[in-house]
Amino acid sequence: MSAAAPLLFPTTDANLLRAAEGDHDAFGALIRQHQDMVFSIAWHFLHDRDRAEEVAQEVFLQLYRGLAQIESDAHLTFWLRRVTANRCIDESRRGRWRIVTLDEANDVAGDADDTDPLLTRKLGQMLQRLPAQQRLAITMRYQEGLAPSEIGAVLDMPLNTVKSHLRRGLGALREWLGVKR
């Protein structure tokens, strides 16, 4: 699988340095550069717009407090994925679930493309039925385009465990959707 979504902001390292020195505009640029990735991981995991935004905001607030530890753009991306995943799991353990209407769910649709909205909705719903680690592994694989070894690094789990999560999660999704292998 190819790398993650294309970079729209090429000057991250410079922004990183300026942000670490307390430049809020530079930090704002960092947020705008990575907000879709962070929000999307949280959204695909939680399927709740408000909670996904809350998690994403907390991730960036944590980043602000720990900017000095970030060494590069690649490190920043890795750090954001890992912290977002951890916060998603923390959030799911709190168990603050609420009913999300179909309109609300559709409110966070992806950019216009040829995606079948019914299938997208159904896949999103099915994803919520998977255990947290499987959900995260599949999100990292299909949203971020990470290889299993990269997923293992982000989620801090052995390669075989990642492969197992992917195999079981995808198997369950295929079965629920009636897709043949």
Binding site: A5, R32, Q35, S40, Q57, G110, Y142
Partner: protein, 97 residues
Amino acid sequence: MNFDDDLTRALARKSAPDGFADRVLSRIEAPRHRTFPTFRRIAAAIVITAALGGLTAHQIIEHRRIEEGERARRELMTALHIASAKMRAAQRAVVHD
């Protein structure tokens, strides 16, 4: 169309809500302009009140202890004066007899 492609499309990145970055930045900037938080003010007031109350109680107790000591001293001196007077009276009676 295969399952992997469907999943890739279904799990494509979504746009963060409008104004997301501004909301994060406002949460960062808010503490700089915020004065001492209310709950901390309340906690500080409770601690100061308790400390002042404790100090006042200690001073009252100490004052009472000193007063009681003074009164006991006065009573002792009075008792000694009475005893001394009676001793002198008894001594005079013995000498006259």
